[in-house]
């Protein structure tokens, strides 16, 4: 057993994911309390270079051809052996398409408790986590002796997990990885849309509040007046009303516009993740407790459809005047 804080480094197509830096920053807080080290676990194939920017005390690098691309089976296979042999104080994983696929399996296989969706940790080893789309927070002590925790962004800046000074990198030999039941086939790159919303400076973003496909025309009309672009949260894209290239959030695009006008969007964590770099967020929602108001600069408690028509009229007037 040791007092170190392990971080499972996530990467995709040769890039370290931002959540990895966030987790390293979080691990530093926890390691101060335990007196242990911050240890990155980097799994990959010919991927050692990626360890260099991590602000960890040490990175254990595990190389194997079966780890060239992420698969749940191979990662669980390798990580379960390391964690049970070394029993660190905590292991941090992203609550992401990578981390969430493996954290639960590790919890069951190793009999270790798991805390989901942690935002931050206090210096005395307590976690703050989020549920109910950000409407409820929970607090508790990290279970002992070894806790697993998944993290979401928001509590730490990625910069605080980065360093110009490379950490100690220790290659670790791994046994054969066999009997794999999950196989990576290939990547399908996103279809290039008519516009790249991550480069747009004015975004009119619509959510469930748009109600019907026909109403999208109203959003388009406003966007035209503001010389902006219409984008959307997941439910609108799932309905097939806008192409995937217009989706903002965790599985979609991260945007950084000058103005993000969020209409009928409640602000689930998956959506918020994609808009935190916006300069000004204005939120329109009928639910006064919607989490979107926590990060917006301006807000209004009104039905987006009632407002849209009025807004179009007044914008037309203002342009004409």
């Amino acid at each position: 057993m040791n007092q170190d804080i392990y971080v499972v480094i996530e990467h995709l197509q040769g890039q370290v994911a931002d959540i990895s830096f966030v987790m390293v920053a979080a691990a530093k807080t926890l390691a101060q309390e335990t007196g242990g080290q911050v240890v990155g676990l980097l799994l990959g194939h010919n991927a050692q270079e990626m360890a260099k920017t991590l602000s960890a005390d040490r990175v254990n690098y595990l190389d194997h051809p079966a780890l060239a691309e992420f698969t749940s089976d191979a990662y669980i296979n390798v990580l379960s052996k390391i964690i049970s042999a070394e029993a660190p104080r905590a292991v941090l994983l992203g609550n992401t398409s990578i981390g969430a696929d493996i954290a639960s399996a590790l919890s069951v296989r190793l009999g270790l408790p798991l805390v989901n969706s942690c935002v931050s940790f206090s210096a005395d080893g307590k976690f703050t986590a989020q549920i109910c789309g950000g409407k409820i927070m929970t607090e508790g002590s990290l279970p002992e002796p070894t806790a697993l925790a998944t993290m979401i962004p928001g509590g730490y800046k990625p910069e605080d997990g980065q360093s110009a000074q490379p950490p100690h990198i220790t290659p670790v030999a791994i046994d054969e990885i066999d009997d794999l039941r999950v196989k990576f086939v290939n990547y399908i790159e996103p279809e290039a849309g008519d516009v790249n919303i991550s480069e747009e400076s004015i975004l009119i973003s619509i959510g469930r509040g748009i109600q019907t496909e026909d109403n999208i025309e109203l959003a388009e009309e406003l966007a035209e007046l503001l010389e902006g672009t219409v984008c959307a949260s997941r439910p609108v894209v799932d309905q097939g009303w806008l192409p995937t290239s217009r989706m903002v959030g965790k599985s979609g695009q991260r945007v950084k516009p000058k103005l993000y006008l969020a209409m009928g969007i409640s602000g689930a964590p998956e959506h918020i993740e994609g808009i935190t770099d916006s300069e000004v967020i204005i939120a329109i929602n009928t639910d006064a407790t919607a989490p979107i108001f926590d990060i917006a600069k301006y807000g209004a408690n009104i039905d987006m459809l009632d407002l849209l028509e009025e807004l179009i009229d007044q914008a037309e007037e203002s342009k004409g005047g």
Binding site: L114, S141, V182, I188, I202, D287, A300, E309
Partner: protein, 254 residues
């Protein structure tokens, strides 16, 4: 092909949430429950697979307010069998306990594939899907938005950030965490649900041991303080629109 779909109810976030007297859990008394939206996608994906490749769809859910309606809705959509887990679910159970309960029942069903929602917004100790997979000794892939079945394998589309898709192959039997079905969950008229409740039955399975180990102990539950909330613009639509136009002009976007 036997397709099993474990689903659950979650608090409707449109309603106000309150915390109970213990200060560590949601007050269940007035809570309105709805189907976990990702589970709704899992049902849709299961029905799509059945329509494409044939097979039986079996939907399971733990007991709770509104569960019968939810299960009859699944029947009306095309599920062949629906099963309600009977046990001490009133005060809510964590994902570990629910996954254990599901696995006890699903083991006997011997599914070829298990589809469930990739997550639920009230998961405090991991999601049910990957926990269940490990209890069943099956492999798991989550964040799935497309499934094809062929020769004892599933070819899946796994979502990554930025619209990137990872195509992955998984050997069956397996558990898949569904992010989005290949088409939006179908709508069924209330009359069809009513009809299902008259012409079909819900099977019941007793669950005795709801073992919650594997989750954290919550010391405090709270609503986030409105620290840096938005500056709210009051008024009717005309007044709000006027103020927004002012802000647009200040920002130089109009």
């Amino acid at each position: 092909m036997k397709i099993v779909v474990p689903i659950k109810l979650v608090p409707d976030l449109v309603e106000e949430l309150t915390i109970n007297d213990s200060g560590t859990a949601l007050d269940m008394t007035w809570l309105r429950l709805i189907i976990n939206e990702f589970d709704d996608h899992a049902i849709e994906q299961a029905i799509l697979l059945k329509e494409k490749s044939g097979g039986d769809v079996i939907v399971l859910a733990p007991d709770g307010e509104g569960v019968d309606d939810m299960l009859f809705t699944a029947t009306a959509k095309g599920a062949d069998q629906v099963i309600k887990l009977i046990g001490n679910f009133e005060d809510g159970v964590n994902s570990h306990a629910l996954a254990r309960a599901f696995s006890d029942v699903i083991k006997d069903l011997q599914p070829d594939i298990v589809l469930t929602g990739v997550q639920a917004h009230d998961d405090q100790d991991g999601s049910v899907g990957p926990l269940l997979a490990e209890f069943l000794g099956m492999p798991y892939i989550g964040y799935i938005s497309g499934v094809d079945l062929e020769n004892g394998k599933a070819l899946t589309k796994k979502e990554y950030p930025g619209g990137l898709i990872g195509e992955m192959e998984i050997i069956l039997p397996a558990v898949l965490g569904i992010q989005a079905a290949e088409q939006p969950p179908r709508y069924v008229a209330i009359s069809k649900v009513r009809q299902a409740s008259k012409t079909s039955a819900i099977d019941e399975r007793e669950v005795t041991d709801l073992n919650q180990s594997g989750g954290p102990i919550i010391d405090r539950m709270f609503q986030p303080e409105a620290g840096e909330k938005a500056t709210m613009i009051d008024g009717d639509e005309e007044e709000i629109a006027a103020k927004l136009i002012e802000i647009f002009e200040e920002l130089g976007v109009l």
